[in-house]
């Protein structure tokens, strides 16, 4: 029923019995940033966390949004304010990108001061005209803002977030919640072990009585992007190699037989205007995402490198069954059998990792089962069995076919005593947006008004208040 609401209208407060507020919920990730009004079922604004950088007369200009990062403008380069380690490195750009996520789709009637939001280039003329009106031109000064954060966000990072909300955006009220806790709650569990398989990171968050256990909260680098890199290695080392040519480089293609070389005419760019390799990498990533969604799977039962009951290896079994076709943008097409499983196997079994000079193999301690074991070893022994029977698996990359079955099998092998139970939300939307949805419900509750950190409290106590209040 919320689908009939327009993008720019907050839901009727009467719908959820709340008070006169239409709070905003912002859930930034490495690959995608999600924003929307509290009380809605899904985030209305889902934009890439990547941005385009193009040269202009006034220096490099940033471009935000889906169209901007996928258009091969001359010399376009792709950046991301968040590092591969899941930590914000460029706060100014992050602020602009998140603001774009909110204002472009949700509150576009009130853009912030064009001088300070960075969405326009600075000019001195404009500066004089705009002097004195700054205080009225805050982008979000009517809407309380609930933000999610990673489990490894530092005290400094948390303070920076409330500063951005209060100082840059003029938020009247703010709340910060650990995304693992939001995912546990939206699964109906005050205590859970949350495994969130994202793009740059898999986060492991033990939650007990509604609180994140900081000691056992870990970041594992094996996630969606790692699987993409494994696919790149599989494609480049295949005999003959599998071409990974993005759509923007193809003018036209001719159908070819499976495995035959592509017959396409390729687009060329005038010398000196070619998009930067980072642009190509992002476009390759789109193909790989499609490949992961339609072809890639996780092997089970047993390990791909193990033996089957006929004395052969599971690798042999995988070679002879369940091959799936995939066509590249240039028309090259092939059936993929063992490769489907090969790309994901090293999430669980480091011996199966593919590597080369620029893609290092993970260490044995970095596999998902080993990271989960490390997490559990750091928390109270009495609650370990309880968390093992309440494993919550979320995140886009966990949707890969067979992921949960294999994770359960690995955990049961490591912990033969306690019962292992895995819960994942039934719908794809709830799985991909679990922490946003949790935040949306929380911020929509009529009773939540007493939780918010108000602007007044922030002014009184400074950014340190976030650490005291948002436990």
């Amino acid at each position: 029923m919320t689908a009939t609401l327009s993008n720019t209208t907050a839901p009727n407060t009467a719908d959820y019995g709340g008070d006169e507020i239409s709070a905003l919920v912002l859930d930034p990730g490495y690959s995608v940033t999600r924003a929307g009004f509290a009380g809605e079922d899904v985030p209305k604004s889902v934009i890439p966390s990547f941005y385009g950088i193009v040269p202009s007369l006034n220096g490099p200009k940033h471009l935000y949004g889906e169209n901007a990062v996928h258009t091969p403008l001359p010399n376009i380069e792709i950046g991301n304010p968040v590092s591969q380690n899941g930590v914000v490195e460029d706060w100014d750009t992050a602020t602009q990108l998140w603001e774009y996520a909110i204002t472009s789709r949700l509150t576009n009637t009130k853009p912030s001061n064009p001088l300070t939001n960075g969405l326009n280039d600075k000019t001195d003329d404009l500066k004089q005209e705009m002097d004195g009106v700054e205080t009225q031109e805050r982008p979000l000064d009517e809407n309380p803002l609930l933000m999610s954060e990673t489990g490894w966000n530092t005290g400094k990072g948390r303070e920076k977030l409330i500063e951005i909300a209060m100082e840059n955006w003029g938020s009247p009220a703010f709340w910060l919640a650990r995304s693992g806790v939001l995912s546990a709650f939206s699964a109906g569990k005050a205590s859970a072990l949350v495994i969130d398989v994202g793009a740059a990171s898999t986060s492991i968050t033990p939650v007990h009585d509604g609180l994140m256990l900081k000691k056992g909260t870990l970041r594992c680098p094996l996630a969606g992007n790692y699987i993409s890199d494994q696919l790149r290695l599989i494609f480049s080392t295949a005999q003959p190699s599998v071409p990974l040519t993005p759509h923007y480089l193809i003018n036209s293609k001719t159908p070819v037989d499976a495995g035959a070389p592509a017959q396409a005419s390729y687009r060329t760019f005038p010398i000196g205007t070619e998009p930067n390799p980072s642009f190509r990498a992002l476009q390759e990533e789109r193909i790989l995402t499609e490949f992961k969604e339609s072809v890639v799977a996780v092997w089970s039962p047993g390990r791909l490198g193990g033996h089957n009951q006929h004395g052969g290896t599971n690798l042999d079994s995988a070679r002879t069954q369940n091959a799936r076709p995939f066509e590249m943008p240039d028309g090259y097409n092939q059936f993929f059998g063992v490769e489907r499983y090969r790309a994901t196997e090293s999430l669980f079994d480091v011996k199966m990792a593919l590597s080369d000079a620029s893609h290092h193999a993970p260490t044995p301690n970095q596999t998902l089962p080993q990271m989960i074991a490390q997490s559990l070893s750091q928390i109270d022994v009495d609650i370990r069995p309880h968390l093992l029977s309440n494993v919550v698996v979320v995140g886009g990359s966990s949707l890969i076919y067979g992921f949960n079955e294999r994770l359960k099998q690995e955990l049961e092998a490591m912990y033969p005593g306690p019962r292992v139970r895995i819960f994942s939300p039934g719908s794809v939307v709830e799985r991909k947006f679990s922490s946003w949805i949790g935040g949306s419900i929380l911020a929509s509750l009529g009773t939540f008004h007493q939780m918010w950190i108000s602007k007044k409290e922030y002014d009184e106590h400074g950014p340190g208040i976030v650490e005291k209040r948002c436990k």
Partner: protein, 152 residues
């Protein structure tokens, strides 16, 4: 303090104290009010049959925006069990948070889970706590083994 700001009505505590001191009440089932603003007593009972209690919990419903699903609930149960070797019986008050994995709407799931601490922290004298998300986790034998853990 809960994470949701949801309040606990005084009646929740009064009834709990009756159960704790009077020994006639066997269990109390708590729920969130229809507007999801406060935790209220849904029912208290002297019925000692676990199966009847279990059925009430499992059949509970919650609705939101005109949709209905299975309902999460909180409950306290005055749990009595035999010690090994005929060493007598023990009573322990068990706090149960019930939120079925299957068939629930996400709104009640989120609201119950984020409000649990508010209720639990206002009840003094809870001897054990159980989080149940599947029907087998609310069987008598499952509860017994977690309640009596280390004390048998």
């Amino acid at each position: 303090m809960s994470k949701s700001g949801v309040a606990v009505t005084p009646d929740c505590v009064t009834k709990f104290n009756e159960l704790k001191l009077g020994k006639s009440i066997k269990y109390i089932i708590y729920k969130l009010s229809d507007d999801y603003k406060e935790i209220v007593v849904e029912e208290s009972s002297t019925d000692p049959e676990w199966e009847n209690f279990q059925k009430k919990i499992v059949d509970a419903k919650s609705s939101y925006k005109g949709k209905e699903g299975k309902g999460p609930r909180y409950a306290v149960y005055d749990f009595q069990y035999e010690l090994d070797g005929g060493e007598g019986t023990r009573n322990k008050i068990v706090f149960i948070s019930w939120s079925p994995d299957e068939g629930t709407l996400v709104f009640p799931r989120m609201t119950y889970a984020s409000s649990k601490e508010a209720l639990k922290n206002s009840l003094n004298g809870i001897g054990a706590e159980v989080q149940a998300n599947n029907e087998d986790e609310i069987e008598y034998s499952t509860i017994l083994s977690s309640v009596s853990k280390g004390k048998r």
